[in-house]
C-alpha cells in the first residue's frame, strides 16, 4: 500500500487541474469497480454494487497550487494561491508545473520578514526574458510543490498526503471489499481545497443515504503545538465536529461501534478550524446523514506532510468493516 501512496502523492493535481491524478486513480480502480464515471466537474465516481442503501465515500484528489497571474519582462512569474498556503513556507521552495517545468520561489527585498506576502514573491523558472518564459508557462498555469515521497519506516513523509492518503485508503478498501452489504460509491472529488465544490455536485448526482469523507486532520502532538486530542499512531479518527459539519449521531455510532467490535484503534476528533467534503455532502438535497474518518497528519498544507502508516492501515480496516455492515 505504500507504493500506492507514493504514486498518488507524487502525482500532479491542484484544484481544477485534477486530470492527471484522476487518470492514475482510474487505472488503480478499474479491475475492482462495477461502474466508473467522470462527471462534469471532473469527479471520479467508482461504484461497487451491493444490495442495500447507497453509501457515498469521498476523498478529494486535489492538492494546493500556485497559479501564474503575470509574467514580467525578465521572465519572473507572479502568482496567486489555490487553497490555503502560507507565504513563509514557500521561501526557497521548489515547484513544478503540469508540463514538468520546474522553478524556485524568491521574494522582493523586505525590511522586515513580517511584511512577507504572496504578492511580494515570484517563481523563477530560469529564463531571462518574457518571451522565453511564455514559451514554457502561460498565465493561468498552476504549479505544485516538487517533493518526493519518503518512507521513514513507521511514518510517511510526502506532499499532498492531504488528501491522497484518503484516496489511497479508498482504493485499498475497494481492493479488499468482497461482498459489500451496501451499494457503495467511492468518489474521488475535485476542488475540495477551494470550497468543497466537487463533493457538492457529486452528492447531488448520487443522492446517497449515507455519506462518509476520508481526509486528514491536524494533531496536537508536536512541541508547543495547539491543543488537540489527536496524535499520530493512535489510529484513524471518528470526527465529532469541524467548521462545516456536526457528525450525524447515527453515523458516529456506526463508526465507533464498528471500531470497538473489531478491535480497531480509533480517536475521537474535534477540529476547531477546517472542514472537508462531508460539509457539502450532508447538506445536499433533503440532507444526508454524514461523518468523517480522518488520518492524523502533521504539517498539513506544507510540502512535507507526515502520517503514521499504522493509522492508514487501521483506517482501511475500519472503512472496510463499516461498508461490510448493512446500513439501515
Amino acid at each position: 500500500m505504500k507504493e500506492l501512496i507514493k504514486e498518488l502523492t507524487e502525482a500532479y493535481g491542484p484544484s481544477g487541474r485534477e486530470d492527471s491524478v484522476r487518470d492514475t486513480l482510474k487505472c488503480m480502480v478499474e479491475p475492482y469497480a462495477d461502474e466508473i464515471d467522470v462527471d462534469k466537474m471532473g469527479n471520479l465516481i467508482v461504484r461497487k454494487e451491493g444490495p442495500g442503501k447507497k453509501i457515498m465515500v469521498a476523498a478529494h484528489m486535489d492538492e494546493l497550487g500556485l497559479m501564474v497571474t503575470f509574467i514580467d519582462e525578465n521572465g519572473f512569474l507572479r502568482f496567486s494561491n489555490i487553497g490555503g498556503i502560507s507565504p513563509y513556507i514557500l521561501l526557497g521552495e521548489r515547484v513544478v508545473f503540469h508540463n514538468g517545468v520546474k522553478g524556485t520561489i524568491g521574494c522582493e527585498k523586505l525590511d522586515n520578514i513580517k511584511d512577507l506576502k504572496l504578492s511580494k514573491m515570484y517563481i523563477d523558472i530560469g529564463f531571462s526574458d518574457k518571451k522565453e518564459a511564455e514559451g514554457k508557462v502561460k498565465i493561468g498555469d498552476v504549479a505544485v510543490y516538487q517533493r518526493s515521497f519518503s518512507d521513514l519506516g513507521g511514518r510517511i513523509l510526502a506532499k499532498a498526503l492531504d488528501d491522497r492518503v484518503g484516496c489511497a485508503v479508498l482504493v485499498q478498501t475497494l481492493k479488499e471489499l468482497e461482498k459489500p452489504a451496501n451499494d457503495i460509491y467511492f468518489v474521488f472529488t475535485v476542488q475540495e481545497e477551494v470550497g468543497v465544490r466537487g463533493a457538492r455536485t457529486s452528492a447531488y448526482k448520487i443522492n446517497p443515504d449515507l455519506g462518509l469523507a476520508v481526509d486528514v486532520t491536524r494533531t496536537g502532538d508536536t512541541p508547543e503545538s495547539e491543543t488537540m486530542a489527536v496524535s499520530l499512531g493512535k489510529g484513524p479518527t471518528v470526527k465529532v465536529k469541524d467548521t462545516l459539519i456536526i457528525t450525524h449521531p447515527k453515523v458516529k455510532k456506526l463508526m465507533v461501534d464498528t471500531a470497538e467490535k473489531n478491535n480497531i484503534s480509533y480517536q475521537l476528533e474535534v477540529l476547531e478550524r477546517g472542514g472537508t467534503d462531508s460539509g457539502a455532502i450532508h447538506l445536499t438535497r433533503e440532507g444526508v446523514p454524514s461523518g468523517v474518518m480522518s488520518i492524523p497528519c502533521r504539517y498539513i498544507h506544507t510540502p512535507s506532510e507526515m502520517v503514521d502508516f499504522g493509522d492508514v492501515q487501521e483506517g482501511v480496516k475500519l472503512l472496510k468493516n463499516i461498508l461490510h455492515k448493512k446500513v439501515t
Partner: protein, 340 residues
C-alpha cells in the same frame, strides 16, 4: 446598444425592477419565451435551429448602492450600504432615492469647519447622511420611506479615446451584451438570464440555473481594471483596450478549462484581442451556477472597467464590441456535442 439607458437606470440589489423592465422591452421581440421567476430573475429563451447543448448566457442586473436606514429630526437621512462600497467614495455624491427618484446629496462638514485632525481622517458610513432638502423628519418621510433604495446619480457620456463613463457598468455592460447577443440566431437552445442580487451574494443565479439545467454557462461581467498610476503592471488585473478578459479562477469558481480554451481558440482564429483576468479574488454568478445540481461547466468573460463599485466607472467601447463579437462566435461555432 442599450448601455446608456441601462447605466442610468436605477437597480440596487433587490430592487432591479426598472432595469428588468428596460431589458424585457428590448428582448421581447427577439426571443421565443420570456418569464420572470420568483426571485425576480428575467429568463428568456431562444429555441435555436437544432437540438444541442443548452447554453445559459447570463449577466446580473443589480448594482451596488445604499438603503434608507433612518431619519434625523432635522430631516436628514441615515443610510446603510448594499454590496461592497468603499466608505471613502461616498462624501458629496449626488444620489437618487426610491421609485420617485428623490434627489439628494451625501453631506459632510465643509472644509472650513473641519478641525485639522478631522481633515486627515475619512468619514465612515455611520457618520454620513443624505440631505434631500427636507426640514423635518415628517417632511422627509413624506418623500422617502425606510428601506427605500438609493443609487448614485451619474450621467452616461462618451469621452476621449473611445471610452465611456457612467455608473453601474458592473454589470449593465453585461446586460447590454446579452441583449445584443440575443439579436442573432444560433443553432442551439439559448437561455438569456438577467439575474438579481449578485452583489449581495450571487443569490439569483443559483435558482435560475436550477430551473434551467444548462449544459454550459457563460457569465458576462464588468470586471475591475486597475491599469492606473498607483499600481505596477503585475497588479493591473485587466487593462482597458486589450479586449475581453477571461477568468481562470476567482474566489467563487475555477473556470471550466474547456470553455476557456475554446474562447481562446475563437479569439486567436479571428485575430481578436483577449486577456486574462490576472487576479484570483472576487466572485461572480459563475460560482453559484457551476455548483448547481450535478454541476455546470461555467466560465466568465469580462469587459475591463476602471473604478467599479464607485459612482463613476470608465470602460473602453472597443472592448465591449470585441466581447460581443467573441460571444457571437462562441455561440455559432460551439460543437454540436458541447464541450464534454
Amino acid at each position: 446598444m442599450l448601455l446608456r439607458e441601462l447605466s442610468e437606470a436605477f437597480g440596487v440589489s433587490g430592487g432591479e425592477g426598472e432595469v428588468r423592465r428596460i431589458i424585457r422591452q428590448a428582448v421581447e421581440p427577439l426571443v421565443d419565451e420570456v418569464s420572470t421567476d420568483v426571485l425576480g430573475n428575467l429568463i428568456v429563451f431562444k429555441k435555436g435551429s437544432k437540438s444541442g447543448p443548452r447554453i445559459m448566457l447570463t449577466a446580473h442586473m443589480d448594482e451596488v448602492g445604499l438603503i434608507v436606514a433612518g431619519f434625523e429630526n432635522n430631516g436628514l437621512i441615515r443610510f446603510s450600504k448594499v454590496g461592497g462600497i468603499d466608505d471613502r467614495v461616498l462624501v458629496s455624491k449626488v444620489v437618487q432615492i426610491g421609485d420617485k427618484k428623490v434627489p439628494g446629496v451625501i453631506g459632510a462638514k465643509a472644509i472650513h469647519l473641519q478641525r485639522p485632525e478631522e481633515r486627515k481622517k475619512s468619514l465612515k458610513v455611520e457618520e454620513l447622511y443624505i440631505d434631500i432638502g427636507a426640514k423635518s423628519k415628517e417632511e422627509a418621510e413624506k418623500l422617502v420611506k425606510l428601506g427605500d433604495y438609493i443609487a448614485f446619480y451619474t450621467k452616461y457620456e462618451e469621452i476621449e479615446g473611445g471610452l465611456a463613463k457612467g455608473k453601474a457598468f458592473d454589470n449593465r455592460v453585461g446586460c447590454a451584451l446579452v441583449i445584443e447577443a440575443l439579436k442573432k440566431e444560433y443553432p442551439y437552445p439559448l437561455y438569456g438570464v438577467f439575474t438579481v442580487q449578485e452583489e449581495v451574494g450571487m443569490r439569483g443565479a443559483g435558482v435560475a440555473a436550477y430551473k434551467i439545467k444548462p449544459d454550459l454557462a457563460i457569465v458576462l461581467e464588468g470586471t475591475t481594471a486597475a491599469d492606473v498610476i498607483e499600481l505596477k503592471e503585475e497588479g493591473y488585473v485587466t487593462t482597458l483596450g486589450k479586449g475581453p478578459a477571461f477568468t481562470v479562477m476567482d474566489a467563487s469558481v475555477i473556470a471550466d478549462l474547456k470553455i476557456v480554451n475554446f474562447l481562446i481558440k475563437m479569439a486567436e482564429e479571428n485575430q481578436m484581442p483577449y486577456q486574462f483576468r490576472r487576479f484570483t479574488g472576487g466572485g461572480t454568478d459563475a460560482g453559484r451556477i457551476s455548483l448547481t445540481r450535478e454541476g455546470v461547466r461555467a466560465a466568465v468573460v469580462s469587459v475591463p472597467c476602471r473604478y467599479i463599485h464607485n459612482p463613476a466607472n470608465i470602460l473602453n467601447l472597443e472592448d465591449v464590441k470585441n466581447t460581443l463579437k467573441l460571444i457571437e462566435l462562441f455561440l455559432v461555432d460551439l460543437p454540436e456535442g458541447g464541450l464534454s
